[in-house]
């Protein structure tokens, strides 16, 4: 195999943020295969320093529009941990409901609008409006309902309003929740099941490529972990959240404004496929069976299948959202005020699962309730090393293919991770220099 290959995809499309794919092969020897992150860094530490605990989640929400709910949840949990603020069961249920809405929204957006065009050989969702109108309309309907969960419970799906330390500033009405439930049962469930049929039909276009890696996610004894749990590695088992720095070990690489991460091996994977591999047994049966029918294995080591795992999760989240609304309604909604009386000021760490993987926030507060130190490690940064290692294995395997096909497979690989590049260059993980 003596072949020269030069690939340079500038500003890869249909991903969140700016990245380039660069591959360089000379005389059959792979010199370079990597995703370069060129997104402008944000420097969030400058925005957080000295800020009140009322503002931390408002600011970190702006790290990413797509993951804004997840950043708020992780931020609020870290602040509550640092200040010793207890929250009610109703607060936790409403937060879990919001996570389901955000997860369905993000996973459906990615599966239908960003990933599916590749499987159908087109450059965007727009041509599909004429060729597959019913499918596009279904995707829009699902996204709309998922966003309506956010709009109803948090005031606004992007940069939510009502979530604050200690609870909510506004509680939805019984009628609003009943209406959401009705639409979930009558509309989302059939749409989600039809999505499975669409994905089964498309699954044969998913490239077959396997590379086993270390899968890291939250894990909980009581449920498919999204809101809370311990850290779980497929290599090393459970660790408490407080050990998150040992699980990430961030480092700078010269070709990326986002830092990379590693744990037990050179790279690790987080996100829907990692959650599926670690926790599929706890998924709702209907969702789990749908995942198996769409070709997911247990475990599944094909990173392209991350998109399929996202679809299985959308079904799980739909069914669990219905259960959560039932629980909220049967307990009776209480118009409770948020608990905002700190009992201490110190350091708090929290993790939550967002669509792209496990997200960590850590804050240290001074006696005035202002942030002294902040750290935030986001999923896409954790996945970047794994994407590079996948490319290094993938390129030699498909080197006999025409260059366009190689480029397409590489683009599809990066898109499969659903990277969130704005998040990855939030740049918050430093101590402040006085």
């Amino acid at each position: 195999m003596t072949k020269d290959l030069n690939i340079n995809v500038q500003h890869l499309t249909r991903v969140e943020g700016h990245g380039n794919i660069v591959v360089n092969m000379k005389n059959g020897k792979l010199e370079k295969a990597r995703l370069e992150i060129v997104e402008a860094p944000r420097f969030f530490e400058a925005m957080l320093k000295g800020r009140s605990f009322h503002e931390a989640h408002i600011i970190t929400s702006r790290i990413c529009g797509i993951c804004s709910l997840g950043h708020q949840i992780a931020s609020l949990k870290a602040t509550e941990h640092a200040l010793g603020l207890e929250v009610s069961e109703q607060t936790i249920l409403l937060r879990k409901l919001l996570i389901h809405g955000a997860t369905i929204q993000s996973n459906i957006l990615h599966a239908y609008f960003l990933a599916t065009p590749d499987l159908l050989g087109v450059g965007s969702v727009f041509p599909l409006i004429s060729s597959h109108k019913d499918v596009v309309v279904r995707a829009l309907r699902m996204k709309k309902l998922a966003n309506d969960i956010g709009d109803t419970v948090s005031g606004r799906a992007v940069h939510p309003i009502t979530l604050v330390p200690g609870g909510f500033t506004h509680i939805p009405s019984v009628k609003e929740l009943e209406n959401l439930k009705k639409r979930l049962v009558e509309q989302m469930v059939p749409d989600a099941l039809n999505t499975v049929e669409t994905m089964v039909a498309l699954a044969e276009s998913v490239p077959s490529f396997n590379r086993e890696t270390e899968y890291i996610s939250l894990h909980s004894d009581s449920e498919y972990a999204l809101y809370d749990g311990d850290i779980y590695s497929s290599d090393t088992g459970r660790s408490p959240i407080e050990k998150y720095l040992n699980m990430t070990n961030e480092f700078v690489v010269p070709y990326s404004t986002s830092k990379h991460a590693k744990h037990n091996r050179d790279s690790l994977m987080v996100g829907a496929l990692a959650r599926w591999n670690n926790n599929y047994k706890q998924m709702h049966d209907i969702a789990k069976n749908a995942g198996l029918r769409m070709g997911l294995t247990t475990p599944c080591t094909n990173p392209y299948m991350n998109t399929i795992a996202q679809v299985a999760e959308a079904i799980h989240c739909t069914l669990d959202a219905i259960d959560i609304i039932d629980r909220l309604l049967s307990k009776g909604l209480k118009n409770e005020r948020p608990n905002q009386a700190p009992v201490q000021f110190g350091t708090g760490v929290a993790a939550t699962e967002v669509p792209r993987g496990i997200l960590y926030h850590e804050y240290t507060y001074n006696q005035q309730g202002q942030i002294e130190k902040a750290n935030c490690i986001i999923p896409t940064g954790q996945n970047l090393g794994n994407i590079d290692d996948d490319m290094v294995k993938l390129v030699p395997e498909i080197i006999q293919e025409p260059k366009e096909k190689i480029v397409l497979n590489l683009e599809m690989l990066v898109r499969a991770y659903d990277p969130c590049i704005s998040c990855s260059v939030h740049i918050l993980d430093v101590d402040f220099i006085e």
């Binding site: 402008a40 944000r42 600011i59 829009l140 309003i161």
Partner: protein, 244 residues
């Protein structure tokens, strides 16, 4: 021929763009009146000329400067989308520190790898024709501006404060609930969404024209914030506003 519309993103969270993909009810109808010719987050295609360029994010690297001039040169109409593009947004908070210090804190000895500039609104570099404000951008304002342009009408720019809309919505005053709020000095147009949901106004839509900053600081101070804290609240989305 339908107007050619393109969407671009600079330094920001892409939440405004996402909000556009969230026009689930209006998207298909909108597409009957415009051709989307370039939108990296959603499609592969590219174009040389645009009737309307919709631009999100602030300008914060040498590469951003080059790209925004290029986009302006190829566009008939340029719309700044969201707080980062209109007034610099939260990104501009970094401008309070020396750039060298910010880079060194984050990247240490690798600081020279990643050039950065102060984060500024688009209007500091190019002419901006219309503004859609908010963090994230206010959806109805976006639809109103876009339909006005398509119908050849001039969109109305709101000049009243958020307080006006909050009163019309018959909300209890946020100050009466023991919280502080930037509604008195923040440009309306959002239908006071945050205060409708029990939260205070963070000032994301920028300040009104000729804002009385001293009076605002005095109110915040009277309700428990020190002057330093009060200034920080105002600066959150408005660090580059000359009135502060």
């Amino acid at each position: 021929m339908k107007p050619k519309v393109a969407v671009f993103d600079f330094t920001g969270c892409e939440g405004c763009e996402l909000n556009k993909l969230n026009f689930e009810d209006e998207l298909l109808a909108l597409l009957e009146h415009i051709d989307i010719v370039e939108w990296r987050e959603a499609m592969d295609d590219k174009s040389d000329h645009y009737t309307i360029a919709i631009v999100e994010g602030s300008i914060s690297t040498p590469d951003c400067v080059e790209r925004i001039h290029d986009i302006r040169n190829r566009s008939e109409i340029l719309i700044a989308l969201g707080a980062c593009a209109v007034q610099g947004g939260m990104n501009a908070m970094k401008n309070q520190y020396p750039l060298e210090q910010v880079r060194e804190e984050v990247y240490g000895c690798h600081k020279d790898l990643f050039p950065t500039l102060p984060a500024l609104p688009l209007s500091r570099y190019v002419r901006v024709d219309y503004e859609v404000r908010g963090c994230p951008m206010t959806k109805n304002e976006f639809l109103k501006i876009l339909t006005s342009i398509l119908m050849g009408k001039k969109p109305i720019k709101p000049t009243h404060a958020v307080c006006v809309e909050c009163k019309l919505n018959e909300n209890e005053c946020v100050y009466d609930k023991g919280m502080v709020c930037l509604g008195p000095i923040t440009r309306g147009g959002c239908d006071s969404l945050c205060t409708n949901f029990g939260q205070y106004c963070t000032g994301c839509r920028g300040l009104v024209d000729e804002p009385d900053v001293e009076a605002m600081l005095a109110i915040l101070n009277r309700h428990g914030l020190s002057i330093v804290e009060a200034k920080k609240r105002l600066e959150l989305f408005n660090y580059e506003n000359q009135a502060l």
